[in-house]
Symmetry: C2
Subunit: 201 residues, 2 copies
């Protein structure tokens, strides 16, 4: 008989509610996390967070009372870095300033692809035109999108998410973006690989 040996958990809306103020923990979630670990189950947090490095994301969650480590977080940016390396791709980044350190080790000279994240305030007319011009100028445009969310809620209201800007560039360049992050199958598979547990367990 197959027993459950590990869990993939979402973060935003499961462990805490996000917001410009850093967010608030959801009642009982820190205790639930403790019990999962006490029961000997492995745990991997699967998030589409792309407004901060994993290090800072974990720092924030720990401050909110969650006992987690960087290795227990699967996020789009590190997954994108692996993909870039595998395929010899050099990205032009249109992402949030706080995410840029995740790409520190990646060669970004003479870009042959565009990586799009939830750039928030960096989604300016000039930055979008720049990403578009690079893409349309490529022999074979490669657009990698860190998620494809439509929108999300912050304390000051709804915000367009990366998926909307992905669609704008897809249409302008007549390309299909490669999505890294939920709900891409490959993303969950890499979370399972990090967990060290097969899908059926």
């Amino acid at each position: 008989a197959r027993a459950v040996r590990g869990l993939l958990l979402d973060v935003s809306g499961v462990l805490y509610d996000s917001g410009a103020d850093g967010g608030v923990p959801i009642a009982g979630s820190a205790e639930a996390l403790r019990r999962i670990k006490a029961a000997g189950l492995k745990l991997q947090l699967c998030t589409n967070e792309t407004q901060a490095t994993r290090e800072n994301f974990v720092k924030k969650l720990r401050a909110l009372g969650f006992d987690i480590s960087v290795a227990e977080v699967t996020a789009p940016a590190p997954a994108a870095c692996r993909l870039l390396k595998e395929r010899g791709l050099r990205p032009h980044l249109l992402v949030h300033d706080d995410l840029i350190p995740e790409f520190a080790e990646v060669d970004k000279t003479n870009p042959n692809c565009v990586v799009l994240g939830d750039a928030a305030e960096n989604f300016t007319y000039a930055n979008l035109n720049e990403a578009f011009r690079l893409l349309i100028g490529m022999e074979k445009p490669v657009l990698i999108s860190l998620g494809k969310g439509r929108y999300y809620k912050e304390t000051d209201g709804l915000k367009l998410d990366v998926g909307a800007y992905m669609k704008a560039l897809e249409y302008a360049c007549d390309v299909q973006a490669e999505v890294v992050g939920k709900p891409a199958k490959r993303f969950f598979e890499s979370a399972l690989a990090e967990l060290g547990v097969p899908p059926e367990q």
Copy 2:
């Protein structure tokens, strides 16, 4: 036998090449326009120009040597105004500053639709979020787009056109925009109505 009695002509790329400097006439086009009129043919210029009122657009073309009048120009904004009036729609405008006077007569209080044009520098993160929030908050979101171009060239390089931003809002709100302007059939029909000539002539 049916004779040709009127012509619909494009403007940008046919009469002149546009640019931040006002553009340059295409060789022979002013003379061709004169001959068409001298031959007694009716003429309607069909443009997707949405960065200026028709008045200013015509002023610019006249300065470039073209003998045309405002009545000879069919453009998306006046067509959108007719549509808004017919359906009792009150728009929130995300358009170029120079186009706003075209909507002077339209009730814009308590918006129940969004009108999207090539807003250029007005395509800011804040303005896009504002248009999105209004749309998603409507019981039945109505998005009217003045054209659906992918991009266009200016003297300082390629720019994303209104169609890209239309796709972003369509995706975020799960709606389909109503396109006013080329290539919408309705737009050509209204140009023909203004010309006073049936399609087959």
